[in-house]
């Protein structure tokens, strides 16, 4: 697809080549980090005290059963060979079997990932919809009450344990006022839609089951607010400072002097230039979502990776914990790659060196 351009314009070819080199470099980096992630999870699994054979077979296992299991799993081999076995398993999609659920971990992760994705995406939308306008307001009314309010909320948002926020909101909006449903994905009497994407909200829309859709949306509101609150606060703070910086620049003053209306000024000129720092923050937020999901999902009994991780950790289901950790490392690396690429695409000044 790129060749016709090449024939016409050597300048463009060079640009395109630079972009491709950058892409390849980034991709190589991600592959390296992912490999490192597998190495790290493998070594954490090594320090786990106790005999994995015993935890897999139960305390009543006979001696020869244990020996056989160890031989089968390659536990008698040197560590480096064991890593080889582990890594080969990963490549073929084998993360082992969960001690708690008794199912292949890959299957568990596949089942629970859409739930987390649905929650995380909704929370990001919430954070953007509330955080960015709040930041704009704060910048426009600098040092007046909208600004002070946004700054106060941002400060509190950064220090509040989100599980306590969740407990309070549940008590108020569910238990006291009855406006929103309690923990869980759907009301018990509803039948979940056939899994297409695995995201209950989307699947119910696809199945045109609006009763389930409305209920799933109502269940989504509180966890999404809890997961997104801190991000909204951070986003507001960043939007504010990025906008204030841009508003202080000469071209904005020129535009103002020429009589450009302030709404045009904000949306046409300033916000566009403030977009990059906001994008950077957004990228950072996405990485933190998985950590937040652990706490949020645990409180809201949300069928996602986070709650799965908590259950695995508290029942000492190490293969499952390692599976989640690996997935989390992988997801974060890919998110970072995506943000980098978006960033490079958005800002012509970024060099691909």
């Amino acid at each position: 697809m790129l060749y016709p351009l090449e024939a016409r314009n050597p300048e463009v070819t060079r640009e395109v080549n630079i972009v491709w080199t950058y892409l390849l470099k980034r991709l190589g980096f991600v592959i390296f980090v992912v490999w490192g992630v597998t190495l790290a999870t493998f070594f954490i699994a090594q320090v786990v005290p106790g005999d994995p054979a015993l935890s897999a077979l139960g305390d009543n296992a006979r001696e020869e059963q244990i020996l056989e299991w160890r031989e089968l799993k390659g536990l008698n081999e040197p560590v480096i060979v064991q890593y080889g076995i582990y890594f080969r398993g990963l490549l073929s999609g084998d993360l082992g079997t969960s001690l708690r659920t008794g199912r292949p971990i890959v299957q568990d992760l596949k089942d629970f990932f859409p739930g987390t994705l649905e929650l995380a995406l909704t929370s990001v939308i919430f954070a953007i919809v509330f955080g960015v306008p709040a930041g704009i307001l704060a910048a426009l009314y600098k040092d007046r009450w909208p600004d002070l309010l946004v700054r106060l909320l941002a400060l509190l948002g950064g220090a509040t344990p989100i599980y306590w926020l969740a407990i309070l909101l549940l008590e108020l909006l569910n238990n006291r006022l009855g406006w929103l449903p309690g923990p869980g994905r759907l009301d018990a009497y509803l039948i979940p839609p056939r899994a297409v994407t695995g995201m209950v909200g989307l699947d119910s829309l696809l199945a045109r089951d609006f009763e389930v859709f409305v209920d799933s949306f109502r269940h989504l509101i509180l966890p999404a607010i809890v997961l997104g609150a801190f991000n909204a606060a951070l986003l507001a703070r960043m939007t504010r400072s990025a906008l204030l910086e841009v508003l202080g620049q000469d071209y904005v003053r020129t535009a103002k002097a020429k009589g450009v209306r302030s709404s045009t000024l904000i949306f046409r000129h300033a916000l566009r230039n403030a977009a990059l720092p906001i994008l950077t923050v957004l990228g950072g937020l996405l990485g933190g979502l998985l950590s937040g999901a652990v706490l949020t999902e645990t409180i809201f009994s949300w069928p996602g990776i986070g709650r799965y991780a908590t259950q695995a950790a508290t029942s000492l289901d190490f293969p499952a914990i390692m599976g989640v950790t690996l997935l989390a490392g992988l997801a974060t690396s890919l998110i970072n790659l995506g943000v980098d690429l978006l960033y490079a695409a958005a800002d012509p000044r970024i060099s691909y060196g």
């Binding site: 490192g36 992630v37 790290a40 220090a159 238990n175 998985l290 706490l295 645990t298 390692m322 974060t332």
Partner: protein
């Protein structure tokens, strides 16, 4: 010889001005007051409160009163006593995690910045791998693997906290090592290790200090999160996160029991965040407008 007193005077007035600037920053002062209060409560906990583990089932879920100023929990334990003793654990975790991760991260950052490309690459790629994990999930895995105790919680949180120092210090070193005083030291025959420790380290202390202030708060928040989930410090130890978890089902009948430790987390973390913000405003000349 005549010059010296003048110079000393100048230095002293510089210091006085810096202190004055610190005191003029309202956020910093508020943060420092919050931290000092928590510190005082932690130090004096045994003298200003009862036994945090003592159960008196006859006074279960009592509202705050003159006897129990923050009320009692579902086992009739004094909430104020538990919050006050919890300050000891949370502050200890916060300081220990930060000391550990700051030490390791600064050392790695210094080495990466000082000893050529090979070492730099190896160390920074190692840092990248640790940065690839969501902090709470990696800490959870480590805490679960090691077993739950205060010491293991500290270790788990430190493992996820050191990379930010490594990056920060390396970035500073890369800039600093082009400066003339480093060139001079090199010309005088100082070894790289000596330059790193004697010349570079003192110059990166300010950004490290700012970062550390934020990190103590973050470490407290992550550690409390671990305990809330159940893989950190275990009940009945009065740890703030564990306390919120233990009392969450009594939010309707005894909102004070879970809110008191949660607010303690909030104000302590807020204190360290405000302190960090303030220090950055005052000490970092680039951020100062």
């Amino acid at each position: 010889m005549v010059e010296t007193p003048k110079l000393e005077q100048k230095v002293r007035s510089e210091q006085a001005r810096a202190v004055a600037r610190l005191l003029r920053n309202p956020g910093l002062v508020t943060g420092a007051i919050l931290i000092l209060m928590t510190l005082l409560v932690a130090l004096l906990a045994p003298f200003i409160s009862r036994d945090p583990l003592f159960q008196d089932l006859s006074v279960r879920v009592q509202a705050p009163s003159s006897v129990h100023i923050l009320g009692t929990d579902q086992l009739g334990r004094d909430v104020w006593a538990r919050v006050a003793h919890g300050a000891r654990i949370s502050l200890w975790v916060g300081f220990a995690v930060t000391a550990l991760s700051l030490g390791v991260g600064t050392f790695i950052g210094l080495m990466a910045g000082s000893f050529g490309k090979g070492i730099d690459n190896a160390l920074m790629r190692l840092t990248d791998i640790f940065l690839a994990f969501p902090s709470l999930i990696l800490a959870m895995a480590i805490a679960a693997a090691l077993g739950s105790s205060v010491g293991n919680t500290i270790l788990a949180v430190a493992v996820v906290s050191w990379p930010s120092y490594a990056r920060l210090v390396r970035a500073q070193v890369l800039v600093l090592r082009e400066r003339e005083f480093v060139e001079a030291a090199t010309a005088l025959g100082s070894s790289r290790l000596r330059i790193a420790l004697q010349h570079l380290l003192p110059n990166v202390l300010t950004p490290i200090l700012i970062q550390a202030s934020f990190d103590i708060g973050q470490a407290i928040l992550i550690a409390a999160g671990l305990s809330f989930i159940g893989v950190g410090v275990q009940p009945p130890t009065p740890e703030w996160g564990a306390m919120v978890s233990e009392t969450r089902n009594f939010i309707s009948s005894a909102p004070w029991a879970s809110s008191a430790p949660a607010l303690a987390i909030l104000f302590t973390v807020l204190g360290f965040n405000l302190l960090g913000d303030g220090l950055r405003d005052v000490l970092d000349p680039r951020a100062r407008k």
